[in-house]
């Protein structure tokens, strides 16, 4: 039971990053390899705010949100916009962006894990047959709220539908008066801001480590591949599957099998249902 809960709470972190992937993907059709780095950024910001500036931990959330959003906009401007329509150019440039971010963390804060102050909620409580921190429960609730909220937002508001239209066919959307560039900027800003703001909340659980982004990108991507590109609910379920699979294989087979089991899942999904469980298959265009 405890293993299951560990899996779910790890899965919630993957889900939050995968939601960030999804926001950008829906608005621009691109995948932002650097997305997890924004969560890590938020953790370091929180560390800085509490330890260096000695401000209350709650203040770090709005600060991390603003910095995350600003860097998201910067990334769009430098690494995405100049590519224009070049197919999959973002594979290289967002990878480069993530490496620059991780390298910068390393330069500023060094390679050692730093403790991120919690919200006084590291208190352990009895839950689901085991002991867990309130913080973990908060993260799981946040992931569910974000996924369900965004799901309804995309399907019921004009701007949400405009986003969906853009993911489907950016040029057609543009011809119909949708401001595709504006949407793309907004998406990078909101995904960057969202994950930045979540950094101070997730940080106490994981510690702030410069190399954390590279570890998180894979499970988050697998979550998205399982759930389906563009589906928020699918991504949430995919992330839970990934978290639970990792946690059980790590517990019963050995630590070295945690990644291996994920790889097997990814391959199975890519080969059997490449559009994911909840994604739609795009018609081939000539």
């Amino acid at each position: 039971m405890l293993t299951l809960w560990f899996g779910i709470s790890a899965g919630a972190v993957f889900a939050l990053i995968a939601i960030g992937f999804n926001i950008v993907y829906i608005a621009s059709g691109k995948l932002n390899f650097a997305q997890p780095e924004f969560l890590v950024l938020g953790m370091f910001v929180s560390y800085m705010v509490t330890s260096s500036l000695d401000w209350p931990v709650l203040a770090s959330i709005p600060i991390a949100l603003v910095i995350g959003a600003a860097i998201g906009v910067l990334e769009e401007r430098i690494a995405i916009r100049p590519l224009r329509a070049r197919a999959h150019g973002e594979l290289v440039t967002t990878l480069g962006w993530s490496v620059v971010m991780a390298g910068t963390f390393m330069l500023i804060w060094g390679p050692e894990p730093l403790t991120v102050t919690g919200f006084g909620s590291d208190r352990m409580i009895d839950f689901a047959g085991g002991r867990t921190s309130i913080n973990s429960i908060v993260i799981v609730v946040l992931a569910i709220v974000a996924a369900v909220g965004l799901h309804y937002w995309t399907r019921s508001t004009i701007s949400g539908l405009a986003n969906l239209a853009t993911a489907e066919d950016a040029e057609a959307a543009q011809l119909r008066g949708i401001n595709v560039r504006g949407l793309t900027i907004m998406a990078f800003a909101s995904a960057g801001g969202l994950l930045g703001a979540l950094g101070p909340i997730v940080g106490p659980k994981t510690y702030a480590i410069a190399t954390l982004g590279a570890l998180l990108v894979m499970p988050a991507f697998v979550s998205m591949a399982i759930g389906g590109y563009g589906s928020f609910i699918g991504v949430l379920l995919g992330a839970l599957v990934v978290g639970v699979a990792q946690s059980f294989s790590g517990r019963y087979l050995g630590a070295q099998y945690a990644n291996l089991s994920l790889f097997v899942i990814l391959m199975a999904v890519l080969l059997l249902r490449p559009q994911g469980l909840f994604g739609m298959r795009a018609e081939r265009t000539v």
Binding site: I78, L91, G96, V286
Partner: protein
């Protein structure tokens, strides 16, 4: 042409590959020419990295999919060679085993990449890199786990242990041989086919190239040098540990590939050289290395899609075509000479196949893009298909060429059912096509573009291309001969050695037509060949279309231009909102009341303006059917 450009073109004909070969041999014998011994290790690592980066170039630069897995393949091969060495095997056995392991891994990690464009391969191969330490630990019994694999013997060849300088020469020689192989490969028709594949899988399959198989071939080929590199690396320090094969190294290889130019042969060496001698060398720079690699990737990806090699190439292209006055290719390139009266003597008659489409229905969501359409096209005849935007013309072509499945109805080619056949197979059955926006790959001359159309049907093996066997040379000569014949028939021989993608629209259309003709198509599908052409060009086009039909080909002409359709077609079919509203001879069609109502009854310009407003729902369908740039490009001129 000026003196400079003539000089440049003349220089290109010389065997320029001798220069890198000479430099390579010089490098190989450098230890005996007084090179500082500290550089020996440096250049060995550069050569090893060149091998890996050249593999990255094949899968990323040529097949067009980013694979981060080279490092994992490199690691697996290094361990394979190391373990074999400990068990007393020689370098030849180690290299063979390492290449085999590499090829298997390249194949396995390529499966999702070939099935799923874009992120599939990038992520699954990235995953392989992450798993290196785990797998090394799991196989700790053989690999030494986290503490590393010690006890590797110096390289031996046929029982004789190599001196350090001899091993150095083996490493450099391996690199030279591999670079020569890559050079022969990418300059051959296989290389051109990969370039087509990278730029447009749609075009590749319409030329009969099996996209899946060709991509897999590129992945396996890209894995082989990583295998060689791993086997050699095991003997550089005689020790292997998981820390040598990190995610950071994977990033460094991609950065080197991008810096040197992913679509290049010698760029791999430049990139590897910069990687080894640049950031890694200066101690103070080490902590900035990660940021620097990342910046390289961004700058390289944004500014220099061709890397250093691409930069050199574009400067060269400018010198080559340097001319202060108006160039003849720009002004007269468009003009299509009337085919000479004896044109059909130059080119062998073609055996056309009859195409029969019956009861064809295709729906997109709730929209019936094609609704119960029945059309027959006979060999030696031009069958015209006309209709407004969203009437289903292009959908029809896409179904015939295998890109869409029909919702219901049948398609038969000389009695053989198509319908479920994949595009490259349809192409191999003799169906060639052109596109609304000409699809001409970058960086290829007109003759090279034409040779890509013969690639699938007149296949010559990879091996014969790499070794330049007589079979390959014969095929290359025939490619050129056939290409020149077709260019002569179309009156555009002066375009033979010109970069085809930089030609004006009219010429690109004719080049597409030439490419289709080189394949000796039994059926030729022309998708709005006249759009964007001026009156004189349309004249030329009409003559070309007629003479292609006279060779025996079954021609299907899709057009907006009513006048052109009536002039060249033997049979005309009129589509409206996916339904066939009239069929018959051009005279019959011109008199048809339904056609007159839609086409001739109103002032043409008014009809064009309203037509785009009338059918928004259907237009959306077309937007999904065709790249939208086409709609914008077409403009009102040919509604």
């Amino acid at each position: 042409m000026t003196t400079i450009s003539r000089l440049a073109v003349a220089l290109e004909r010389k065997p320029l590959w001798l220069i890198p070969l000479a430099l390579g041999l010089l490098l190989m014998f450098a230890p005996y020419l007084g090179m500082d011994p500290s550089w020996t290790r440096q250049f060995m690592l550069i050569a090893i990295f060149t091998l890996v980066v050249s593999g990255v170039n094949l899968s990323f630069g040529y097949a067009g999919e980013l694979s981060l897995g080279q490092v994992a393949i490199y690691a697996a091969s290094a361990y394979t060679a190391g373990i074999l060495s400990i068990h007393g095997h020689g370098l030849v056995v180690e290299m063979a085993a390492a290449v085999a392991v590499a090829a298997v891994l390249g194949f396995a990690s390529g499966i999702p990449g070939a099935r799923l464009a874009g992120w599939g391969l990038a992520m699954s191969s990235f995953f392989l890199v992450i798993m290196v330490p785990d797998v090394v630990a799991l196989l700790g019994e053989w690999t030494g786990g986290y503490s590393g694999l010690a006890g590797i013997m110096p390289a031996t060849v046929f029982g004789r242990m190599l001196e350090p300088n001899e091993f150095y020469m083996v490493v450099i020689a391996t690199m030279l041989v591999w670079v020569a192989i890559v050079r022969n490969l990418v300059t051959s028709r296989h290389g051109k086919a990969l370039q087509v594949l990278r730029q447009s899988p749609v075009l590749a399959s319409s030329l009969g190239i099996n996209v899946y198989r060709t991509k897999m071939t590129a992945y396996v080929l890209g894995a082989i040098p990583a295998g060689l590199a791993g086997a050699l690396f095991a003997h550089v320090d005689l020790y292997l540990a998981p820390e040598s094969f990190t995610f950071q190294l994977a990033i460094a290889f991609i950065a080197a590939s991008v810096l040197g130019g992913s679509e290049s042969v010698y760029g791999a060496f430049i990139g590897a050289f910069l990687l080894q001698v640049g950031p890694m060398q200066t101690a103070g720079f080490a902590e900035y290395a990660l940021v620097a690699y990342g910046a390289f990737l961004i700058i390289g990806g944004v500014l220099l899609p061709g890397g250093a090699a691409g930069l050199a190439r574009s400067i060269w292209a400018r010198i080559r075509s340097y001319d202060p006055g108006p160039t003849d290719t720009q002004t007269s390139g468009v003009s299509v000479q009337p085919p000479a009266a004896n044109a059909s003597l130059d080119i062998d008659p073609i055996v056309g196949k009859s195409l029969r489409v019956s009861g064809l229905v295709r729906t997109f969501g709730g929209v019936r893009a094609l609704d119960d359409v029945t059309i027959t096209a006979e060999p030696g005849r031009v069958t015209g298909l006309i209709g407004g935007n969203g009437s289903g013309k292009t959908t029809m072509l896409n179904i015939v060429s295998g890109f869409y499945r029909p919702t219901s109805g049948a398609i038969e080619l000389d009695g053989r059912p198509l319908g479920r056949t994949s595009p490259h197979k349809v192409a191999r059955l003799g169906v060639a096509r052109t596109f609304q926006t000409p699809l001409i790959p970058r960086n290829l001359t007109t003759l090279e573009v034409l040779s890509t159309a013969r690639y699938a049907r007149h296949y010559s093996s990879l091996l014969s291309a790499v070794l330049r066997l007589p079979g390959y040379r014969r095929q290359a000569r025939k490619d050129r001969e056939r290409g020149m014949t077709v260019l002569r028939v179309l009156g555009i021989t002066h375009l033979a050695d010109v970069q085809a993608d930089s030609l004006p629209l009219g010429s690109r259309r004719v080049v597409e037509m030439a490419r289709a003709l080189v394949a000796e198509p039994a059926v030729l599908l022309l998708d709005e060949p006249a759009s964007g052409l001026d009156g004189e060009e349309v004249e030329g086009l009409a003559r070309v279309v007629r003479s292609i039909a006279e060779l025996g080909t079954t021609v299907i002409l899709v057009e907006h231009n009513f006048e052109l359709i009536c002039r060249v077609s033997d049979q005309v079919h009129v589509l409206e909102f996916g339904k066939l509203i009239a069929s018959g001879t051009p005279e019959h069609i011109q008199d048809d009341p339904a056609v007159q109502r839609s086409y001739l009854g109103e002032d043409l310009e008014a009809a064009q303006e309203t037509s785009s407003d009338e059918e928004p729902a259907l237009e959306l369908v077309e937007a999904g059917t065709a790249p939208n740039a086409w709609d914008a490009e077409k403009g009102p001129a040919n509604a």
